[in-house]
């Protein structure tokens, strides 16, 4: 039984690791992975309660752009192992979850960096027209993400809880504070990449318009999204470059522009 439990916990950890990057089925969310570990170790009640507690802490942890949230996957899996297999109580396990989330973040940053090498292997496969090679690279990277939670989970099961806690406490606070601070602003790299691709002289003013409006806290993101869509529609509708081209196309008579048709309906 114990052996089967260990194997099943490793499976859950692997799923959580894969989901921490995919963000689809949500097995990396503590409410799911703690519950699952609770069930496979025969402590479903503890698992569910721990999962709910950690979920409330992790509500705002999300990956935006290139920004990285603390890693809910390792935090949930590790604390569930402590509670369900090592008899730690829920409050203690919650305290351990935070440094675990930071450790998990460091690990996934490492994996996402070495995946750059895998991307170059995929380029090479693509230039040979090797479809299977590209697929292998893609799924291989996913397996590494699974292992980056499964392997620490195995280590945590194998060594005493005190040793893990001592190891985590040995990490100086300026490293954890620094990592989480940088995690808050590293997002700008992703934004800068997207801006570099979209930006031209014509569209830069809209960037500053958005920036200025963002300081009005009364305007939610949906309202700002509506403003953005309206501005884009009106600009495209009035822009002289399209209107001269549009009248020439209209003279041909064949292609009635569907967007124009829709917009005309509103007039």
């Amino acid at each position: 039984m114990a052996f089967v439990s260990v194997i099943l916990v490793l499976v859950v950890a692997f799923l959580a690791g894969m989901e921490s990057v995919l963000d689809q089925w949500q097995f990396h969310q503590p409410i799911l992975n703690c519950t699952m570990i609770g069930i496979v170790t025969g402590h479903p009640l503890e698992g569910v309660i721990l999962g709910g507690t950690l979920q409330l802490i992790a509500l705002g942890w999300m990956n935006i752009g290139a920004a990285m949230a603390p890693d809910a996957a390792l935090a949930g899996v590790a604390s569930a192992i402590f509670v369900c297999m090592k008899g730690m109580d829920v409050q203690e396990a919650v305290a351990v979850a935070i440094p675990m989330a930071v450790a998990g973040l460091a690990l996934t940053i490492f994996v996402r960096t070495i995946t750059v090498g895998i991307a170059h292997a995929a380029d090479a496969a693509a230039s040979r027209g090797n479809v299977g090679g590209v697929e292998f690279c893609h799924i291989g990277a996913l397996m590494i993400q699974g292992l980056r939670v499964a392997i620490p989970a195995g280590v945590i099961m194998a060594i005493p809880a005190e040793a893990v806690q001592a190891g985590l406490e040995a990490i100086p606070s300026w490293i954890t504070t620094g990592l989480s601070t940088a995690g808050g602003f590293i997002v700008v790299v992703g934004y800068a990449m997207v801006i570099n691709m979209m930006a031209s002289g014509k569209v830069w003013p809209f960037f500053f318009l958005g920036f200025a409006l963002a300081s009005l806290s009364e305007l939610g993101l949906v309202a700002l999204g509506i403003i953005g869509v309206v501005i884009a529609l009106v600009y495209v509708q009035l822009s002289p470059e399209f209107n001269s081209g549009g009248s020439a196309g209209g003279g041909g008579g064949a292609g009635v522009d569907p967007v124009d048709a829709i917009l005309n309906d509103y007039e």
């Binding site: 995919l22 709910g52 027209g129 893609h138 700008v188 790299v189 963002a214």
Partner: protein
Amino acid sequence: MADEIKQEVDTSIDTADTGEKKIDKSDIKKVWWRSQFLLASFNYERMQNMGVAFSLIPAMRKLYHSKDEISAFLKRHLEFFNTHPYCAAPIFGVEMALEENRANGGEVDDAAIQGVKIGMIGPLAGVGDPIFWGTLRPVLGAFAASLALTGNILGPILFFVIWNLIRMLFIWYTLEFGYEQGASITKNLTGGLLQKITLGASILGMFIMGVLIPRWTSIDMSTVVFSKADMGAVGDKFPDAIAMIGQLNGIVNGEPMGLDVFHNGIQSLQGVVDGGFSIVNDPANYADNPYRLMTTTTLQSVLDQLLPGLLPLLLTFLCIWLLKKHVNPIAIIVGLFAVGILGALVGIF
């Protein structure tokens, strides 16, 4: 209008009979399944690039057969891509339609295929991140967690079922929608519609980027304190707050509690926060009124008065400039982490 659409459908059926390559429902289904693995190989160089190629492979198998065509297809879909993982579905739909047009010798070229991708990722990330990560998951998570805290297994089960139902249906319908819209776009390329959409998407994208940079980036410089000023005892300006503290002490000593005292006290504390004050307990210097009202001038409060979101904006421009100088994005990311750790070491974060 309805007649027009019908005509279009008729012609597409006709052309299918004449041996044109056509993406069908089963191809869309395969792309739907694969797109759920979009993020598997996320990397700091081109982010979701392998995921795009991986997701679109079923469409490629239908459209292209020679080794050169396959190689070219894979290469043009291994370019930089990064958006919300569910909102990538409509982009894949449009891309399938564009590739279909290209494979049949249509007017769509590589630049159009790239342009549409780049034009759409920004706005869709701007829509998907706040909706799914910022709203739906916290709401559903909080609801499920409140059930789970009582030991109710329905919490996790409902979370799993509701989330995945919404997610899978969203991806399916937006993928189909993107494909249908893409197919109608390719029929009207002469009207400049593609350029209009690309420009409109860039405008929306830049606008949303301008919004998200100050809102979603957190740089807090309030640890850097310029000056602290004692503005007198808390009780002078906010007597209700002191009354509440007295009440709290009373409860500890077993006295009954008065709800209205708490109500007024909390409102009073809100006034303290809104006024930009903080409260310090200083019995050593002020024995009579130990709770002192402080105004703290920090680097952050000065910057906020100047222009909210100034630091994220400057940092973004620095990154844009570095990327234009062909500095490797990984180097920038490592550098930013170094700044964070060094900043924490010297105590500015």
